[in-house]
């Protein structure tokens, strides 16, 4: 089969059919990213009182921006992971194609539901808002939006199952993909490389997240069709945030494979699997699943023990993968004699953005802090931090890497990455300042005393968008070449 490799650890740069899809994934990711960023800028300008937007339109844009960004975070992350994983296990490229078709179908449904139908229930579609909009949007729009999400979720589920299958075939089980035979039985055979370990974790948690997400979507759809069949709102909220938390977190675990794979090639220093690394990933696999109650700390009806878990384990969870990977990356780079260029700088920034972005989140997961920070701008401050400056630089680095024909010899260009970091810091910093000033999140119009943060953020956002455009164009303009090689 032309589209798969079984060579464990070998460096594979050959063209293949899976690569065609990976390339298309990245193209869609890049284009949607720039569009969604533009929507974000428009929202920030509206909050700044510079642009007048009808609140209904603002909330539609907020819904599209949130949903779209989470969607491409997963699409781009999946492309990265698939590409590197396919050097270790035998994957069927057509599965990526099926997912892309479903993804695009879902996107069309969601765009129609939101911009034509007027749906604005937020990317979290929290029950019972989709069906109970105060007659602002029609039921069909809610049903169409949720169905679109369901279709997209099913697509990603299929990909996860395919990856799980491949890992089971290649390594003899998901436990072995996580390296448990090494961790618990001191085996030295068939040790999974970091990319395989990360991929195994991703498919386990994403499958669970998507199952919960699909379930709550179906339940909500049933409720829309038969309003007399109701859902317990607290259960619905738990399912929604379990899905949302795990899914968005998994995107960064997908993308981090680019760090594991490229830093060794750039520096000539290996990134090997060892027991600490394996223990960290196994711990994170479980912890990422149980810490989601930190999104429900202000739901006083929740059992207190879940709240305690939400706080304490959120704190503990920051240690394993984050520190192991962060310090691992720093050690590989430190005094390695490299010349910085665009790819290596983006990778360095991504590790910083990920680690730093978690800090305000851990602080906010403290219940007493959450009482005065929950649902303020502090929250978008933290997640834009690790998505804009952690996840995206990983994806950009991968795009540039493909655009350069998988060549990692230094070719300059790191100034653009540094500018991106600076504008990005300014942009997320203003969200955090808004949180400090108690500005609520998800408000279409802001009080006069809040505008200063919004306005500075708008300027910074322009910078972010310009630089993101530079990175995406570097990839898109090279795309014909990449496809030709494939």
């Amino acid at each position: 089969m032309a589209e798969a490799y079984t060579t464990a650890g070998a460096k594979v740069t050959a063209a293949d059919r899976g690569r065609l899809w990976v390339t298309l994934y990245l193209a869609v990711t890049g284009i949607v990213l720039l569009l969604m960023m533009t929507l974000g800028l428009l929202m920030r300008l509206a909050q700044s009182d510079i642009l007048t937007l009808d609140p209904a339109l603002f909330y539609q844009m907020m819904t599209v921006h949130g949903t779209g960004m989470v969607g491409i975070a997963a699409l781009g992350g999946m492309a990265v992971m698939w590409h590197f994983l396919s050097a270790h296990v035998r994957l069927h490229g057509w599965v990526l194609g099926v997912n892309l078709v479903l993804f695009l179908a879902g996107v069309v449904a969601i765009l129609a539901a939101d911009f034509l139908g007027g749906f604005g229930g937020g990317w979290t579609f929290l029950y019972p808002l989709p069906a109970t909009s105060g007659a602002v949007w029609p039921t069909w729009a809610a049903a169409l939006h949720l169905s679109g999400l369901l279709v997209i979720g099913v697509g990603f589920l299929i990909v996860c199952l395919e990856i799980a299958r491949a890992i089971i075939v290649g390594y003899g089980g998901l436990g072995r993909g996580l390296g448990w035979h090494v961790l618990f039985a001191n085996s030295t055979e068939n040790v999974p490389p970091p990319t395989v370990v990360a991929s195994t974790m991703v498919v386990i948690v994403t499958t669970l997240a998507l199952t919960a997400g699909a379930a709550i979507l179906v339940m909500s759809l049933i409720n829309i069709a038969f309003p007399e069949i109701q859902i317990n709102p607290l259960l619905a909220k738990n399912m929604t945030y379990f899905f949302g938390h795990v899914f968005i977190n998994a995107t960064i675990y997908m993308a981090v494979t680019v760090v594991y794979e490229l830093l060794p090639r750039i520096t000539g220093r290996p990134w090997k699997t060892n027991k600490v690394f394996l223990a960290a990933w196994t711990l994170s696999t479980t912890m990422v699943l149980v810490i989601y109650p930190h999104h429900l700390l202000m739901d006083f009806a929740m059992p207190t023990w879940m709240m305690v878990i939400g706080q304490v384990l959120s704190y503990v969870n920051s240690f394993p993968v984050l520190i192991v990977t962060g310090l691992g990356a720093l050690a590989i780079l430190h005094r390695s004699g490299i010349r910085w260029d665009l790819i290596s700088t983006l990778l360095l920034i991504s590790m910083f953005g990920w680690m730093a972005g978690v800090i305000p989140a851990v602080i906010d997961a403290t219940i007493t802090v959450n009482s005065v920070m929950h649902n303020t701008m502090w929250v978008p401050g933290h997640f834009h931090f690790y998505l804009l400056l952690g996840l995206l630089p990983m994806q950009f680095a991968f795009m540039i890497y493909l655009a350069r024909g998988e060549d990692v010899t230094p070719q300059g260009g790191d100034m653009t990455a540094i500018l991106y970091l600076l504008f990005g810091l300014g942009f997320v910093g203003m969200f955090l300042m808004g949180g400090w000033a108690s500005v609520p999140r998800r408000w279409a119009t802001h009080l006069p005393e809040w505008l200063i943060w919004d306005q500075i953020a708008s300027v910074m956002a322009v910078g972010v968008i310009v630089l993101a455009t530079v990175f995406v164009l570097k990839f898109l303009t090279r795309m014909p070449r990449i496809l030709q090689e494939a």
Binding site: P55, A56, Y59, G120, G122, P128, L129, T132, S133, G134, V136, P233, L234, K237, R269, M298, F300, A301, T304, Q311, Y315, F319, I323, L327, L330, A331, L333, H334, R335, G337, I338, W340, L348, F352, A356, I359, P360, I363, D364, T366, I367, T368, V369, S371, V372, M373, H374, N375, T376, L432, M433, G435, W436, S438, P440, R442, W443, A444, T445, L447
Partner: protein, 177 residues
């Protein structure tokens, strides 16, 4: 210092320290050293970080659990029933008195809302979610007089940003009726 300011300063300090570490690696990357000693140092730092987080951080996190808002003491509380609906608040009492706990019974008639209390300076001082089918009990003791505002802190649709109400806190503060 407010909780918000402490959180901001702590975050800023931690992020700056992290930035300094990254900057150092960035600046020194061109130098060449064998990997083994560098990796050894990184492992040691990792071990130190691990034990610090376990022996210092974890106890702090547990200690911070001591005043959770869920079971707050409400002896001789003034009761306020607050009900949310798209897109307004209904409070059965607006005047409360200083330095005595107020127990808000927060409920919703339709979708999820968020009951956020802002002081006269516009600072968020307490909150709970308003969820259909549940009554959340939020206890807060006001220690400064003034007009407080209730803003909606859970996205609830078109006029989410327009949901405001007032609570007036004074020495005498209305009757417990």
């Amino acid at each position: 210092m407010t909780v918000q300011t402490v959180s901001l300063l702590l975050s800023a300090a931690a992020i700056l320290i992290l930035a300094a570490v990254f900057l150092r690696v960035r600046v020194l990357a061109h130098a060449v050293e064998d990997y083994a000693p560098v990796q050894g140092r990184a492992y040691r730092i990792r071990a130190i970080a691990f034990w610090l987080m376990l022996l210092v951080g974890l106890p702090i996190s547990i200690w911070l659990l001591r005043d959770m808002p869920y079971e707050a003491d409400a002896t001789e509380a003034q009761i306020v029933n607050a009900t949310a609906a798209q897109w307004y608040w209904e409070l059965d009492r607006e005047d409360v008195s200083l330095n005595r706990p107020v127990e808000f019974h927060v409920a919703s008639m339709d979708v999820n809302h968020g009951f956020g209390i802002y002081d006269a300076a516009g600072r968020l001082v307490a909150q709970t979610q308003a969820m259909p089918g549940y009554v959340n009990r939020l206890v807060h003791k006001f220690d400064a007089p003034g007009t407080y505002r209730v803003l909606c802190l859970e996205y609830c649709g078109l006029a989410h940003h327009g949901m405001m109400a007032e609570v007036i806190v004074s020495e005498t503060g209305g009757s417990d009726g």
